[in-house]
Symmetry: C2
């Protein structure tokens, strides 16, 4: 319950690790193998929680060709209940709510145990996408039937750079029940700081305590992965793109960049008094990138202020 | 000649301090007093050079109301020759070339001593401005008649953010004789890094050594000064605007920000192998802001790698 407590108390300083479920085409044996290897790999990290993404075909959001083909993945809730044994580690289960008929969604909500589960509801990728359940309706269902399940929302610094109102969206989501926010992968630190800053001062003006903002980082082992991040809507500043493109070791360069970016945001949020979490996302299925992601999470874990820091050192 | 040598040899790591000449309406006594006070204030700094701006009414560049009224200032070359005794310190004299008839401009060029003077030619603020001498023509005159006078050009990271081709402009100016570039005040470090990065890799692709890029920093004591910077075309990221707006001490906050921004760019340029200079501009005539500018320059002087660093410490 440490994660939930840190969110509720506005303490922040927690570490998450985010995964995408295996492909729908994976056999039961394969899914089980992936789940076991993943659980084993993450066990020594001591994360405060995991994130399981709910991948939707977002081709209606972006007309450009997808650098990687869309391959449907297992439903994160199914993967979690059938294969992925994470013990008592809390899991934030993403829900692309538009995919689910309301009764199914309501039943899923009902079955969740708030001490082990949290959720992030994601709305439609574009206004033209037909939805079975809208984001607003999903939020209502949770507020009515499962208010003890901690709910998060997505925060998109890139949208703030374009429209300047993402901080107001966050506050609307907060009114609808969100108690934390998760960004997509952050490459543009300035855009993230701009959003956090506007959010902070708007909270102050309204007398509302700021919710935890979880910043997502990832390593990137190739320019193809970089293109994919771009396709997903991640703004990658030119200088970073150049660094990665011309680096002798793209993976290593992206690791160093992610570490520096995370440290900058950590320092900034502490100074501003905005609670934050760190999320490391493994975007690739290449072994070297997965291992670098785990290493990145371990390094970032050491950056967080935790009351047991002394205890960990002397143990 | 140390400044000129550092530019020619591509060493960078030099410090400039930039001033605007007094108003045209200032009496001779007043102008002399300003010049003497300024020279005295700057003397202990040990800068490598000074910049004197040539202020043009840029209202045709920006249709919005100017936060401060435009007050014509003295011609920097006149101010320098009549009042401002800087000893042997090299001075970079800006020339808004469009203001000068060709014969006058050519005569001025002829009279310059390259061991004590450098120049930056600035073109028209907009395409609709009628010019007496175009930037291209001014560059030609210098190349033909005064090629030993080191010439700089302006570098605008904000234009790179919009058009993505500022690095190509720099290379064209380099072909036209420029051996260094000076930015306007930098608030958006990412935009500056993006420009430097694209410039660096384009130089490499062409086999051209990169010229020194001089980054300009200033303190900002009030939101009015901030608005003025905006009006001049400086992109101030939201988070910095908020920091300055809500700071207990705007001047102090801007000082810390400028220091951090300069350090980040210094580290970045060294890593990338792009020679750089630092320029501190005093944008306000308020005493506290001028003193903070001098202090900022002193702090940044200590950040530069100079062969006499050891000697300075033991002297």
């Amino acid at each position: 319950m440490e994660l939930q407590r840190r969110i509720i108390d506005g303490e922040g300083e927690f570490l998450l690790f985010a995964l995408t479920p295996p492909r729908q085409t994976a056999s039961e044996e394969k899914a089980q193998e992936i789940a076991d290897v993943t659980a084993q790999r993450l066990q020594p990290l001591g994360v405060d929680g995991l994130i399981l993404y709910d991948i939707d075909d977002e081709s209606d959001r972006n007309p450009e060709e997808r650098p990687f083909p869309f391959l449907p993945t297992m439903d994160p809730a199914d993967y979690l209940s059938r294969y992925f044994d994470v013990g008592n580690t809390p899991v934030v289960v993403y829900r692309a709510v538009g995919k689910y008929a309301e009764p199914d969604f309501a039943a899923w909500l009902q079955a969740q145990e708030p001490e082990r589960r949290l959720s992030v509801f994601v709305g439609a990728a574009s206004r033209d996408t037909p939805v079975a359940t809208s984001l607003g309706r999903a939020q209502e269902l949770r507020a009515r039937n499962r208010p003890d399940l901690l709910l998060g929302g997505v925060a998109i610094p890139e949208r703030h750079a374009r429209n300047g109102d993402e901080h107001l969206r966050l506050l609307r989501k907060q009114e609808a029940g969100c108690s934390f926010f998760v960004t997509q992968v952050v490459y543009d630190v300035t855009a993230a700081k701009n959003l956090v800053s506007d959010y902070r001062y708007e909270c102050r003006a309204r007398g509302v305590p700021p919710a935890s903002i979880v910043f997502t980082f990832s390593v990137c082992g190739s320019t193809k992965t970089l293109e994919f991040l771009r396709w997903l809507g991640v703004d990658v500043p030119r200088w970073i793109e150049n660094e990665l493109r011309y680096a002798d070791d793209t993976l290593e360069a992206s690791f160093e960049y992610a570490l520096a970016a995370a440290r900058e945001l950590i320092t900034y949020c502490r100074r501003l008094g905005v609670p934050f979490g760190i999320n490391v996302e493994s975007v690739s299925i290449r072994r070297a990138e997965i291992e670098a992601s785990v290493e990145l999470a371990a390094r970032l874990r050491d950056e967080l202020h935790r009351p047991d820091d002394g205890a960990r050192l002397t143990r």
